[in-house]
Every structure is written in C-alpha cells, then in structure tokens.
C-alpha cells in the first residue's frame, strides 16, 4: 500500500505563551520558537505506520513550509516513514488553506500515486480543518474528516465522529483522511529507526520543480482568504472580596459568573 502523510511544522505547544501576532501582517511571530510536528499529524503518521505494518508498502511524508520544516520531516523519517518531500519557496508562502491544499496536491501528484493520504484533522496553529477535505477535492479522491479510527478490512474503513455519534465508512481508494488525536496512541520512535533516518531520501523542491503549477492558486496572491483585523486579548487579575450571608455570597458569585460569560459587545 502506498501511503502519504501530510506533516505541518508548527510551533512547539510548550512555547505558546511566547507566540505573538504581528499587528501589520496578522501572521504569527515565531522567531525563537522551536517547531514540532503538529499533534494531529503524529496520529496520522501513526495510522500510516500501522497500515504499513499490516499491509506492507511505503510511507511518504510531504510538507509545505520554510526550509527549517525539513527537521520535522526528518523526525517523521525517524518515526518510520520511508521518504520525505518538502516544498519550500517564497512563492508558496502566506498561503491560506485553499492555496495550501492546492500546493500539497501538486506535490503529492509529483511524488507518486497514493492509495491513502492521511493528514491531521486540524493543524495545531491555523486549525481551520479545511486542508484534508480540500485535498480530497483537488485529488479527485474520496475523503473523510474527523476520523477517530482508521483500519483495514478488505478496504479502508474509517470511523468518523459527529456531534450526535459515530459513523463507519468504507472509503474507495485513493482517499484522503483527516485523522484526530483519538485515533491511536503514538509510538515512541525506535532507536534503530532513528539511526536509519539519515539514509532515507529527503527532497526539497522549489515551486519551479513542480511543473504545471497554476500561479492563481499559489501563496498569498492565490489565497482568497486574507486575515482580517486581529485583537490581542487583555487579561489581568483582580481580587474582589465578596461579603454577606452565605446565600448573598452565592447570589453575588452567580451574578459575577453570569456577567463574565457575556462577551463585551453583547453586554
């Protein structure tokens, strides 16, 4: 089975309190913040490793991002993926989810034909959860999001989570699946696999390396969604002593809680 996994390099959650928004560009300022593989993507990779263990085949990881995103691909190789491709180019930078999914689809088409394409259900930073479904459309493949289980039973079977319950689907291949953190427990990398990673192929492409790219869907220019106004939330601590009888205190506390649950503009 030929499996592809989309890996996004995202800021390390341990440093979230240090991330700021650039007021001009509305982009995240990530200087000095280490990057990691997005949490959901590690579950997508784990699902791929399990499918490969059961069915054999090859796992290809793909990413779009800055040159440093190579480190996260290397990590995926250390986890057990077989080969990796990164597209890194100013032309594809600043992409919204549509431009991202378009570019990823072109990278996937360039690098092979895949039976199953796994992605995190939603990234740890942008978190739109658009990319997996959009990718399905670009690839002309069946697709399912919110997967809490990915398995093989004479074909790909996906369990999806809805607000009202769970649904099981058989997907025709090729297919694209958005995998959630509930799908599996991610393994620890094996030392032998880590040591083997440096001998596996890791290729970095520029936009020019991908033939037939439609500039209308590339990068910031090709992105129909542009960031609007962003506000930084102010938060401060204030201590108020509530006095009175027990029931008065309870009443006042309830009032405060009720008020604080109402957003400013609604109040």
């Amino acid at each position: 089975m030929n499996i592809a996994v989309c890996i996004k390099s995202v800021p390390d959650p341990e440093f979230y309190d240090k991330i700021t928004l650039d007021p001009q560009t509305k982009r995240l300022v990530r200087d000095g913040i280490p990057a990691v593989i997005g949490e959901a993507d590690t579950h997508a990779l784990e699902a791929a490793l399990r499918l490969k263990e059961e069915l054999g085949g090859e796992i290809t990881v793909v990413s779009m991002g800055p040159p440093a995103a190579r480190d996260q691909l290397m990590e995926a190789l250390a986890m057990g993926a077989d080969r990796a491709f990164l597209i890194s180019d100013r032309k594809v930078g600043g992409a919204d989810s549509l431009a991202t999914s378009y570019t990823l689809s072109m990278l996937l088409k360039k690098t092979g034909t895949y039976d199953v394409i796994l992605a995190g259900n939603e990234s740890a930073d942008g978190s739109t959860a658009h990319v997996p479904s959009q990718l399905g459309v670009w690839m002309g493949a069946s697709h399912a999001a919110n997967a809490v289980d990915v398995s093989w039973d004479q074909g790909i079977v996906v369990t999806r989570k809805f607000e009202s319950g769970l649904g099981r689907y058989r997907l025709k291949t090729p297919c694209v699946i958005g995998v959630t953190g509930a799908a599996n427990e991610v393994r620890f990398a094996n030392v032998r696999t880590i040591l083997a990673a440096k001998n596996k192929p890791l290729v970095i492409y520029s936009a020019a390396d991908l033939e037939d790219l439609d500039e209308n869907y590339l990068g910031l220019k090709g992105s129909p969604s542009q960031n609007g106004e962003v506000e930084t939330m102010e938060s401060s601590k204030q201590c108020v002593m509530i006095t009175g009888t027990e029931s008065e205190i309870a009443q006042k506390l309830a009032d405060i809680l009720r008020q604080s649950a109402v957003r400013k503009e609604e109040a």
Partner: protein, 375 residues
C-alpha cells in the same frame, strides 16, 4: 551543545519524551512502594534504547557513548533509580562482546539488549564487594554441568531478573597469575534451586528492589560458564561513567524546579527570585558546577567514542556523582523552603539516592584508592 548533532537531537527528543511519559508517572510509585520498573525496562529494550553503545555483534548499534549519556541524563531528570536500572543494562552488556561465547551472546546478551529478558549481576557477598577470596558461592563440576551453591547480598532487582550472572569460586584458591579459580555463570532464575530472600529497606534508590538471592544446587551447563570472566569484571570499570549522566540529569531537573519555584513564589508582590539576589546566586553557582560537570562527562564520552576507555577517569566521574547530587539536592531543598522537603516535590529523594549511588557498583572510596595506586 558541542556534542549534539541532528541524529543525537532526535534521540534526545525521544528519550525525553519516554522519560516524561513513562518514567515520570512511575517515579513516585517506585519510591513509595518499591514498585517494579520491569515492564518499562523491557519496553525500553524493545525500543532499541539498550543498543547504545553495545557492539553490533551483540545486537547493538555500535559505540556511541554520547547518545548513551543523553539517554541516562534524560532518565535521571525523572528518577535516579530508574536511570540507575537502565544504566545497569549497559554496565552488563558493555563488556560482553569480549567475554562471552557466541552461543551465550545469542542466548542471553541479544535478548537482554532487545528487552526480551532482564539480566542481573549476583556478585556481592557478605564478605564484601572486593574480597573475592572469601566468597562462599562455589561451583562444582558434574560431568558437562556445574552445580552452584551459595548466596549473594545487596543484589539489585533480586526478584525481577530472568538471568543472573553469578560469580562463583571454582577452586579453593583464586590464582591471580593465571586468573583461574573464579568464574561467572549465567543462571536462569527459573532454576528450581534459585530463591529470593529478604528485600532490603534502603536509604535511597527505592524501586530497585535490592535483596538477597540463594543458589541451592542450581545446575547449569558448561556452555553457561563465561569464557573470559575477568573481561567482565575489568570491563565494568569504564561503564561506570554512566552514573555521572544520571547525576547530571538529576541536578538539571532540581535546578530547573527550584528556579521555577523562586520565580513564581510571590511574597509582598514580588517573586523571591527578584527580591533575593542571594537565592539567585546560590542557584547560579550550582548551575555553573553543572556546566563543568556536563563538559567533563561528555568530553569523557567523546573520548570513548574515539576508543579511549580510561577507567580511572570513569571512576572519578562515578565518584563525583553522589556528591554532586547530594549537594544540589541539599541546596535546592533549602531554597524551596517547606515545599523542598515535601516528598512529592521530588527533590528530597535525590538527596537519599545520592548516598546509595555512592556504594552501588563499588564504593566511591574504592576509586579513590585505585587513583592513589596510580600515582
């Protein structure tokens, strides 16, 4: 850090994640109930974590001592005891390639490296760690077999090990010129003659289940006798530098916890960190010792990667382990006030572990005497 490269960073990340996710939840259990770490240790083996720096002929990944140091450092951050138990795997496996037969490597060493079995050392006797001549455990030849009788004390994981390396006298006297008269046998603990005695209550390293073991007519075959026992006994020496990596990790985590405490402990509107230069400097001085210690350790391990295995240096590092851990724990407890002495804060146990670490695998004072002998 000069000794890190991409591969070692990846390893370090995995070791850290393993230590935080698996060892952290186990640490207090081991401390309070002498709980077993057997499953976690076997899992580590399956994850290839005991392949460094073991020879490829023994199922290892070759001699990268620096990666081995990184592993022990990360484990030491969460639990000195767990780190100690992981370290023992290498202390045992390290000298094996030069000492064992191919059959023994296949039967015992490779399964131990791969986390299929746990190996232990039953060496020490009431007569003392060093006084081999007075050992009471004897092996007597019986056809193709050996019959072993005797007992050992202060044996780590006395009731958790699958196979012990048992030191036994095979003659009335050890001939120190031909090195004959003392042998080491692999003895599976499934042998009907094997039994476990008392598990000790110790000052530190709780969870390592130190106890007595007995051999009552245990029968092993000649092929279970290690051909070069002195290769094992002498081979342990260089491996003892791993102790320093445990201490390094322990010291780093204690300092980090203390800095965090001082910065977040607000009194009269300001943090202790901001108000007390003395506290900041006390902690900074410990950190400076850690810098020096770290460079000494990884310098030594880098030398070992180049084939230089200096037992005297390794002994010096082993002997520096307990004092560093004890000093950092003592200072950090003081800097953290009441919180510092509370069990669950996880600092005071390093204070106790330091003492036990000074005696396990030969008393620190032995190394001082060896260095004195070299002058």
């Amino acid at each position: 850090m000069w000794y890190l490269n991409e591969e070692r960073r990846l390893l370090q990340k995995t070791f850290r994640s393993y230590a935080q996710k698996r060892v952290r939840p186990l640490a207090l259990e081991m401390e309070d109930n002498d709980a077993s770490s057997r499953e976690a240790l076997l899992e580590m083996g399956k994850l290839g974590m005991f392949t460094m720096p073991v020879a490829e002929s023994c199922g290892g990944t070759g001699p990268d001592y620096i990666s081995w140091g990184l592993l022990l450092e990360e484990l030491g951050k969460e639990s000195a005891t767990f780190g100690f138990l992981a370290l023992l795997r290498q202390v045992f496996n390290g000298p094996m390639s030069a000492a064992c037969s191919e059959e023994q490597i296949r039967k015992y060493v490779i399964p131990a490296v791969n986390g299929e079995i746990l190996m232990g050392l039953a060496g020490n006797e009431p007569a003392g760690g060093n006084d081999l001549m007075e050992y009471q455990t004897k092996a007597v030849r019986d056809g193709d077999d050996w019959i072993i009788n005797g007992g050992k004390v202060l044996v780590t994981q006395a009731d958790e090990v699958d196979v012990f390396m048992v030191i036994a006298l095979t003659r009335d006297q050890i001939d120190f010129t031909t090195m004959q008269g003392l042998d080491i046998f692999f003895v599976p603990t499934s042998d009907p003659g094997f039994s476990v005695g008392h598990i000790e209550h110790k000052v530190g390293l709780n969870g390592s289940r130190t106890g007595s073991v007995y051999f009552d007519n245990c029968r092993v075959s000649e092929s279970d006798r290690i051909p070069n026992p002195w290769g094992i006994l002498m081979g342990f020496g260089p491996e003892l530098s791993g102790y320093a990596a445990l201490a390094l990790g322990g010291a780093e985590s204690m300092i980090a916890k203390t800095a965090d405490y001082l910065k977040n402990r607000i009194q009269m509107g300001r943090s202790l960190w901001d108000t007390h230069q003395a506290a900041r400097h006390d902690l900074a001085k410990l950190q400076m010792e850690v810098y020096n210690f770290r460079n000494a350790l990884y310098g030594h391990l880098a030398n070992r990667n180049c084939g230089i295995h200096d037992s005297l240096e390794a002994g010096a590092l082993k002997a520096a382990t307990g004092p560093l851990m004890e000093k950092v724990a003592s200072e950090c407890m003081l800097l953290m006030g009441g919180t510092g002495v509370i069990h669950e804060t996880g600092i005071e146990r390093y204070y106790r572990d330091a003492k036990a670490l000074q005696i396990a695998c030969f008393s620190d004072k032995t190394f001082v005497d060896t260095v004195a002998g070299s002058l």
